[in-house]
């Protein structure tokens, strides 16, 4: 039997089902596009690996012996790494009772050396000194001066920002003073997070602990002073 020739009605019928098919494909395509955009945004969040140690052990600040009170040179800051080997800090004897101060005169403080503006390392000025980048500026006390963009911190009063662009003070290193031996220990970091670790300005203590300890090697007494000079 010879095959039946297609009639006009048949063609319309075929055309209709083709159009329906295309519509269905388009609808699925649109849904798939929306889904993939949503899942891409979701997947982006998985690119950074989970914080080290978060799954295996409880995170805790290391306790590091820094220096004995008798050995502190009040003319120059002591530099040390804490809580990671790549996060430098400065320890100072400011000469009068200071916010966050420990020691017999409550005048020993330590702060992160990483500026909260864009992550440069600032230098410490004694009263009356000028930074290398701005000879017309004279420090009015123990100050941190960042030569990248001119940020200034009052290291006697909790590293309060007294000039320049930093949006907030640098975090303090929590110190512990042992009355019997005179030793000073670093026992943690105050808020906010160290610049470059987690979202800037995070103050929740649990998040500060998590972000400050991620992405590097936690210091030991052996590495606390490595490559600081």
């Amino acid at each position: 039997m010879a095959p039946r020739r297609l009639q006009r009605d048949d063609l319309a019928e075929i055309g209709k089902s083709k159009r329906d098919f295309l519509k269905i494909i388009l609808a699925f395509g649109g849904l798939a596009t929306l889904g993939s955009i949503a899942s891409t945004l979701r997947i982006l969040g998985f690119i950074p690996p989970p914080t080290q140690g978060a799954s295996t052990q409880a995170l805790a600040w290391p306790r590091i012996k820094l220096v004995n009170v008798a050995a502190i040179d009040s003319s120059k800051p002591l530099r040390f790494n804490y809580p990671l080997v790549d996060t430098p800090n400065v320890l100072l004897k400011v000469g009068r009772k200071a916010e966050n101060g420990v020691g017999p005169e409550s005048d020993i403080v330590a702060y992160s050396d990483v500026c909260q503006h864009l992550g440069c390392f600032y230098g410490v000025l004694s009263s009356g000194a000028s930074p290398p980048c701005n000879s017309s500026y004279k420090a009015r006390g123990m100050e941190g001066y960042c030569c990248c963009h001119g940020g200034q911190f009052d290291l006697v009063n909790g590293a309060k920002v007294i000039g320049g662009p930093p949006p907030r003070p640098v975090p303090a290193v929590m110190l512990e003073y042992d009355k019997n031996t005179g030793d000073i220990y670093a026992i943690g970091m105050g808020p906010p997070t160290i610049f470059g670790h987690g979202p800037p300005g995070t103050t929740d203590p649990a998040l500060v602990l998590r972000h400050d300890l991620e992405g590097g090697e936690i210091v030991t007494e052996a590495t606390a002073f490595a490559r600081t000079q």
């Binding site: 950074p48 980048c133 662009p165």
Partner: protein, 465 residues
């Protein structure tokens, strides 16, 4: 006569019909070869970079030492290192020149819109090349500059910022940062740049070089070999010779190695091609959270520039008939140069808002005024020959003694006020009253000098009684 080998190659590759076809005569002009020179610079960078890869060790405790080893111990290592540095400078400078030349003669118009967009992306990649390569020697200045640029990523929205920071620099350890920058610099960026280059060269083969924006559009065709080949070889060799000579005469001296202590007493400044942005970040208004506005503003200007062919849709290409775009381009260049020089002289100093505003507005006004006067003068003298006009205008004051003396007084006044302004910028201390007086004197002396020149020119040509 062609050899058998040449015939075989031609029949297989067909180069003569595509890449090696004749070019129009007008393209034998250095301005048409800025892009080609940028590619030569890229090849030079690849070559010297590969040589350095033999010795360089990308770890935080070896990076500086191995760089120093290349400079001090490897035979001619200092030359390789310096050529790589100056080659980078040349590449960035040529890319900027290539872009601005294209801007002023409107090469980006139909049908070359996508060439402009791709070219802008390539330019951005060249800048990222500079940024990533800068960190590799692990010097005190390069590490600080890199930390600043990574720091800026933290101001991006929370869905993107942390991910991008992680991809570019890890989560805060120096080792992760260095190894990622190394990979970007020697693998990722070259690959992306090459792909974009191929796409752009394909479009170039389709559209050819843009005709001159003025003058005749039809030109004689010049055969590729030997004429164009020799021309290309000549300007290419001159370029490489200049880079080599500069490197031999002024070899680089490596700054000290990075340590937190060294970083805290060093005054870090970015390389010259990022100084303008560095200066913007030091404006008082952009302190603290205000950095969002600086980053956002620069991003918007950049986006507008990338999308330029879809914004400026007019068909005129002649700079003389596009006062708005030409003046905007001139202002942009003047601001970039001003910010760069200013940033160079004020490391680590915050710039008060008033001072920043005065300088930015003043530069824009001076350029806009000069541009407006030039366009007015041109429109008054339409139909007169303009050849050698600049030289004749310069000679004019010296043929009229009275006017010359007035002109000289104006010139001295203008120069003194300009020097005053520049001086107060360099020291970072500005008195707003003195600055405004200087500013007014500078503007009015400019204005009167321009008027004198204009009247003299018009009188000389008989356009005025």
């Amino acid at each position: 006569m062609e050899s058998k080998i040449a015939q075989w190659l031609e029949s297989r590759l067909g180069l003569k019909a595509t890449v090696l076809r004749p070019v129009p005569e007008y393209s034998l002009n250095p301005f048409y070869w800025l892009g080609a020179l940028t590619v030569i610079a890229f090849v030079l960078q690849a070559f010297t970079g590969l040589l350095m890869l033999i010795y360089y060790v990308p770890t935080t405790d070896q990076a500086y030492a191995s760089t120093l080893y290349i400079i001090r111990t490897v035979p001619l290592g200092w030359l390789i290192e310096t050529v790589h540095l100056y080659g980078a400078y040349a590449m960035i400078l040529l890319a900027f020149l290539h872009m601005f030349r294209g801007y002023f003669v409107s090469v980006q118009k139909q049908p070359r819109e996508m060439m402009w967009v791709i070219g802008m992306l390539m330019g951005l990649i060249v800048l990222v090349f500079g940024l990533t390569g800068y960190l590799l020697p692990w010097t005190v200045v390069s590490k600080s500059a890199t930390d600043v640029s990574i720091g800026m990523l933290s101001f991006l929205p929370a869905q993107i910022g942390p991910v991008l920071t992680f991809l570019l620099a890890g989560t805060g350890s120096n080792a992760a940062e260095l190894s990622r920058f190394f990979d970007l610099h020697i693998v990722v960026l070259p690959a992306v740049l090459l792909v974009l280059l191929v796409v752009k060269m394909y479009m170039f083969e389709v559209h050819g070089a843009a005709e001159p924006s003025t003058g005749p559009k039809r030109a004689k065709e010049i055969p590729w070999f030997p004429n164009v080949f020799l021309y290309f070889a000549m300007i290419g060799s001159v370029f490489v010779a200049v880079v080599l000579l500069a490197s031999a005469l002024f070899p680089l001296s490596l700054p000290t190695e990075f340590t937190p202590l060294a970083a805290s007493v060093y005054v870090p400044q970015p390389e010259w091609y990022f100084l303008w942005f560095y200066q913007v970040l030091k404006f008082a208004s952009f302190e603290g959270e205000g950095i969002y506005y600086a980053l956002g503003g620069v991003t918007i200007i950049l986006a507008l520039f990338i999308l330029l062919p879809f914004i400026d849709r007019g068909t005129t290409r002649d700079a003389a008939s596009r006062p708005l775009y030409t003046t905007t381009g001139l202002i942009l260049i003047a601001e970039l140069v001003t910010l760069t020089v200013w940033g160079y002289f004020t490391p680590g100093q915050v710039i008060p808002d008033l001072q920043a505003l005065v300088i930015i507005v003043e530069v824009a006004l001076v350029i806009a005024m000069m541009s407006a006067l030039t366009y007015r003068m041109r429109s008054k003298m339409r139909g007169l020959p303009v050849r050698g006009l600049g030289l004749r205008i310069m000679a004019l004051p010296f043929t009229h003694r009275m006017i010359t003396s007035i002109f000289a007084v104006l010139l001295v006044m203008g120069s003194v006020s300009l020097a005053g302004l520049v001086g107060s910028l360099a020291t970072g201390s500005i008195n707003s009253a003195a600055a405004s007086v200087n500013f007014i004197v500078l503007l009015s002396s400019f204005y009167f000098m321009a008027r004198i020149l204009r009247n003299l020119t018009l009188r000389q040509r008989g356009a005025l009684p």
